[in-house]
Amino acid sequence: MSEFEAQAPAKPNVAWKQIGQPLERTDARGKAEGTTRYAGDYTMPNMLHAKVLRSTLASATLRRLDMGKARALPGVACVLTAADLPDRLAPTDIPGQTGQQRQKTDQQILARDRIRYFGEPLALIAAETSDLAEQALALAEVELEPLAGVFDPIEAMKPGAPVVQGENNVVAAQKIRKGDLAKGFAEADLVIENAFRTQFIEHAFLEPEVGLAWIDENRVINIRVSTQVIEHFRYVADALGVPHNRVRIMGAPVGGGFGGKEDVTVEIYLALLTRATGRPVRLEYSREESLVGHGKRHPFIMSYRTGVRKDGRITALEAKFIADAGAYVFLSPYVLLYAAVAAPGPYRVDNLFVDAKAVATNNMYTSAFRGFGAAQACIGYEQQMDEVAKALGMDRLEFRRRNYLRTGDRISTDVPIRSAVWTERCAEQAWAALGEVSKASGPIKIGRGIAAYQQSYGRITWLHDTSEGWVGVEVDGTVIVRSGVTDIGAGQGSALAQIVAEVLGVTLKDVVVYNSDSAVTPLAGTTTATRALYMTGNAIKLAAEAVRERLVARAAKALGVEPDQVEMMSSRVFIAEHPDKSLSFSDLVKLCAAEGIHRSELAMFRAPFTDRIDPETGRGQVHPDYTFGAHAVEVAVDTETGEITVLKSVGAHDVGQAINPAAVEGQIEGGAVQGQGYALSEELIYREGRLMTPSFSEYLIPTAMDVPPVRSIILESRSGLGPFGAKGIGEPALTAVAPAIANAVADAIGVRVSDLPITPEKVVNALRRQRSKDGPTSR
């Protein structure tokens, strides 16, 4: 069996008792009662408070940095500048456990000479109190000499443009060549060409970056931090020049990540300061510093050219993407790869040409964000699908129906899709769920939009992803799970408890999950790339099944039957056909303990491993598998004010198997609202690289006043590579929302605003342009 094929559905334990149930998440109660400790809730005796001094220009030479007065302020324990650091860099490439060679994209830890972005760190300060650290910041003497900067990726590619990175600012390029493009266009009856733009956006997790570091009795640097990736301990160690086993990262429940806590945030600063002072150090960002200080979503400029026959069949597609990478590379090559792979969307395109480039500028660097390039591509291909349908005079759903990928079809990178592809089912159901069309009145126009998507789950297959997990049973019949997985709020830990409870026939409250400690819990990999349930869920399931097998063997002996006649449910172990012949789970465990039967297991799950794709054609496997689905919306547009109200929002997704449907709904509802912000209100505005929107009163995420009822339709093909046939839903829930809204607005007003966000101002201007164009003939 190919490792890309879904495993056989796990043997149901009588019937599934835990999987597929909308159970109360194990972490919810503590959060609602306020007892959950986040990374920022830890303090230590003798702790120092840190601050980061940042550049006030986006492109400059650091002429002078005199921290003398800051150092002299009583209560300041330590000031570090680049001059105080060994000449080491901070790794930024492929976070996590992979053994792959990193690309040479490392970043200076503190600016030495050259400053490339607004907010680039210049110095670190640790003081007895936060107030003192703040006062010391103000005593820094900084002389910056402005350098010509470049703030637009197209400008940055022109000869003579200021060079921010590499030789010509092009920090990554990705090609896909499939079939014969010229032949495809020759077969087309119609060729449609459009361009679309997306903006810089912000993760806007509610918990700003925060951490606490100290050195323990083994000279290990311990860091408790809000992160998606505890395995950054290796990068911190590399940046400091200490062995990997001398840095330990402990996570905590993360107050939101969305990709924004995938790269290193405060860890290296904390490690440097605690090493320099020998004292515990705490660093938390203000909201403004958080908005300034972490990587953003790549803005994309996308041009699409589609060849189509009159019958609605796509014959050729050419897509060109230019992404603004900002001042440093970070995960741009991978974001670009995801975008390129996703360029045609969930449609069969035999003649495909994709050219994608990520270009450095003096804007804030861009990196991971839920959807990771594939979300930007969806905003391109789904608006283009609507435009092509319109040009053909064909119904939007019918046009899509004629082009959906099916299982066995070859995707953009010319490899077949092996799991279920229920895009059509999802799109039809989402569309139908919109129900009756709301009434338009006066200047209020109603419009509807649909968008379908293909989004990977699991990391790039040539990174050879692995996840380890441990399961053990106690003699009183309770269960312990140990997994390095970080819980970023989607219920990553609770899902593991549910899986183990299912396999061992206990209830959720019998299971405690210990997670996210790089020194103590088995390394599970990152909580990124919609991989946590797929990878860690599989590892924990393997471990639980191994424990179960040994317990069942012993129970069979006790009950005088064969192991396959033994069932476990509700903490009882019994003969399947004679449930009255049983023993308690805890008695069975005691029996095993007394006889020295191994009651725990450490398991590793390995994702499929492939070679890198061909750089010239992009041919090859990139991801383990994909989730498919669709989002549909109805909007009301006030043609006088340009105001847009989302009236209905429906996400329909084939999640393979919902482990906890309530948690899946939570992803869909949250994705619907995040996508709405992406489409309509959110934009980080940079002027000469300086952030002009550094607060939540300027950067507008949707509030309780802005959201429509969201309907979640969960389909289950049980065809995924995850536990019990699960696919992933974390990123997919967001991907199709913004283009569905863009399509609905265009449907409502008859003209397309092709650059996000679709603000009232842009709507009014688009209508005005349309009127002046129509004027002479229509009036």
Partner: protein, 161 residues
């Protein structure tokens, strides 16, 4: 150093003494005193994560100076209820899946409690308005609305305090 003053704050029904300078916000003071259930999200009154009840009404503790809270009844989410006697909103948020990363949850529960104390049978619109100062990035608010409505229904039926 700025002048500091020792004040007594009435927090969750207990008298707590602390010494704070004039510029110390109630958020900072509460966290300094160990009330980590009050969350710091923006310190500008934009996000509502730090909301507490002051004399029964929700307020952003980041916009309140600690000195001005003396003599007033301050209630944080852990004061509403806990493991032994959870508050109906804490139970409903948990049961409805209204909690994801949970960082905004204490503030949302405080804002909801403030609404329910002031408004019997709030309409959907009342609920939206009451929660509009509390940002949530995970849930999309849907399950939060469900949880608040359920508690409101039960209170109206006289089944809850």
């Amino acid at each position: 150093m700025p002048r500091a003053k020792t004040i007594v704050l009435n927090i969750n029904g207990q008298r707590r003494r602390g010494t704070f300078p004039a510029h110390r916000t109630l958020l900072e003071a509460l966290r300094e005193l160990g009330y980590i259930d009050v969350k710091r999200g923006c310190e500008k009154g934009d996000c509502g994560a730090c909301a507490v009840l002051i004399d029964g009404e929700a307020a952003d503790s980041c916009l309140t100076l600690a000195w001005t809270a003396e003599g007033r009844a301050i209630m944080t989410v852990s004061g509403l209820g806990g493991a032994d006697a959870p508050h109906p909103l804490q139970e409903a948020f948990t049961a409805h899946g209204a909690v994801q990363c949970g960082y905004c949850t204490p503030g949302l529960i405080i804002a909801s409690e403030s609404l329910l104390r002031q408004t019997e049978n709030p309409t959907d619109d009342d609920i939206r308005r009451a929660l509009s100062g509390n940002l949530c990035r995970c849930t999309g608010y849907a399950k939060v609305f469900e949880a608040v409505k359920e508690v409101s229904r039960r209170r109206a039926a006289g089944g809850e305090k």
